[in-house]
Symmetry: C2
């Protein structure tokens, strides 16, 4: 009858007839131990169901193998995808992720930081940051490798950046509308303290400017349907309507479409609508929504790749990946 306690390294060593250090070596640098011994040790590990104690290992090596992930508590779609990809990638590399939402009622960025410091994380990934979280990140970056998932943080960012090129995404959306003959395209923006929102504004603006068109005022928005609805209700009261609306995300677009319907306008015949994100369901909106799909998972993987590199070496860099336009009914038929 075997003891009921979890086996430790010396148990394995005893069973294999070697010292505990040899067991450690088999686990950490297998090449240093002769194949025959290695096999004996591995068999003993197997037979006993031995699992290394990670706390002890962390204590001895002074490496926690933990990565902190900060994400906005409000948004659940994109960040969830990215976070999952981050988890997978980290785990594949032998790291464990610990996540904490921020800017919720629950915890301030400062609390979150404390939390991560207590856990002795080796690095931090910040998903979809606002100006506030970026600032917190900046303080962090001195002492710890930080990867920020967002572009356009300004010069001198000491953190590594992995991002989707939202400026490109917004440009794709806008140019798509331009190609369909639209000349009066308004933009309902995301919250102004979000980098992602700013990038989309810039892309929309650039596309219009490149086409030699005047750039209308940005319609200040948010991320939710209610806001898109409210903003668009104001919009349809104006004497002259735009022929197309480009919304900073799909929920805004959804709200906008409701307001347009209620005003008796047809989509896309009277007003075309394009969203951003391709959230679940957007392909069944009324009408199905033309939108921009982000490579969420790709970004998550890249973030970990960059972070792990940063943990070993350093040198802040920037990685951009490309979003993709998804054309559906809301933006109208192929132009004649």
């Amino acid at each position: 009858m075997s003891s009921d306690k979890a086996p430790v390294m010396s148990d394995v060593a005893a069973r294999a007839g070697v010292s505990h250090q040899t067991v450690s070596r088999v686990l950490n640098s297998p090449d240093l131990v002769r194949p025959a011994t290695r096999a004996r040790v591995l068999r003993a590990i197997e037979e006993l169901g031995y699992r290394p104690n990670l706390s002890a290992r962390a204590l001895a090596t002074k490496r926690s193998r933990l990565i902190g992930v900060v994400y906005p508590s409000g948004l659940l779609f994109g960040p969830s995808h990215t976070t999952m990809a981050i988890q997978d990638a980290a785990r594949a590399a032998g790291y464990t992720t610990v996540s904490a939402s921020t800017e919720g009622a629950t915890a301030s960025p400062h609390d979150t930081l404390e939390f991560f410091l207590d856990l002795a994380v080796e690095g931090i990934v910040i998903v979809a940051p606002t100006t506030e979280t970026a600032q917190a990140a900046r303080r962090l970056a001195g002492s710890l490798p930080v990867v920020i998932i967002a572009a356009g943080l300004g010069a001198g960012t000491p953190a590594h950046v992995v991002a989707v090129d939202h400026q490109l995404g917004a440009r794709l959306a806008t140019e798509h509308l331009l190609a369909r003959g639209h000349r009066d395209i308004v933009h309902i923006a995301g919250p102004e303290n979000w980098f992602d929102a700013r990038a989309r504004i810039a892309g929309w603006r650039a596309a219009l400017t490149d086409a030699g068109l005047p750039v209308p005022d940005v319609l200040p928005g948010g991320w939710d349907a209610r806001t898109g609805y409210a903003v668009t209700r104001e919009l349809v009261r104006r004497p002259s309507l735009p022929t197309a609306v480009f919304a900073a995300n799909d929920l805004l677009a959804l709200g906008a479409m409701r307001a347009l319907h209620e005003a008796g306008l047809r989509i896309p015949e009277d007003v075309a609508v394009v969203g951003y994100d391709d959230v679940p369901g957007s392909d069944h909106y009324h009408p199905p929504l033309t939108t921009v799909r982000q490579p969420f998972a790709e970004v998550g993987h890249q973030a970990i790749e960059v972070l792990l590199a940063a943990i070993r070496w350093s040198e802040p860099g920037e990685v951009l990946s490309r979003p993709q336009l998804v054309v559906r009914r809301s933006s109208g038929p192929q132009p004649g």
Copy 2:
């Protein structure tokens, strides 16, 4: 100039003129140390910016203070909310959560289990399980406290159960439609291996039976809009249409509404629709969707409460919380 290394307990002890054990006591059982000494120690901690090393603590106490959270990778809305609540509650209790999605391409339930065992989690919460994950949970429950967030797992479940009463939720939805005069109410179900989906079927069925109505066949579905669309397209081909559709979630309802629109049917005049979940945007669907809102956060908090109790004592129990009907346009006007 202070040393650059992170201060450890003995540094604090030296500065406060006590032994390291006294510092430990101040942290763990403050009542055992005289107020004056305690104050000195606390000040030293403050001044040095000392943080206890969690690995060392875990090693000495044999308690990892880690909780594993398993959630389905497919669904992102509900689980995200619940997971966030779980994180908050756990953190408030001094625990850290580590999450892993399962049933994705990435990791089998078995891998996830291994992962958690390696981390030496003290307990596991399973969010929104299918029959498969429940089975894995059953194996686990012998060796580790497990809380499953779902009801109806069958007798003899060794795990603790925290759940939303989906049977009640489905009943509320169905009775709402009955109250509006509907007599022919079909149900588009979720995937059959989901406990939540089964409970909703049961609630719908019970409500119809209680009203003395025949129960039509369940329309087998899934969780996504595409399925709701496809199923409803079949439905509208039938010679006699139901007057109301109760869908197992909002995306199914969304897909159903699209199919109804395309068939030239008006919502709610020709066919009423009710969903489940109250996902973001459902209040701006076309028309705004009557649905059932789940207390996601509440469930998360309860899950941790129950799990922590289980970690100390034991005794599997069951906690149910109540969902809430949200009436909007898609289910029609108040009956005359």
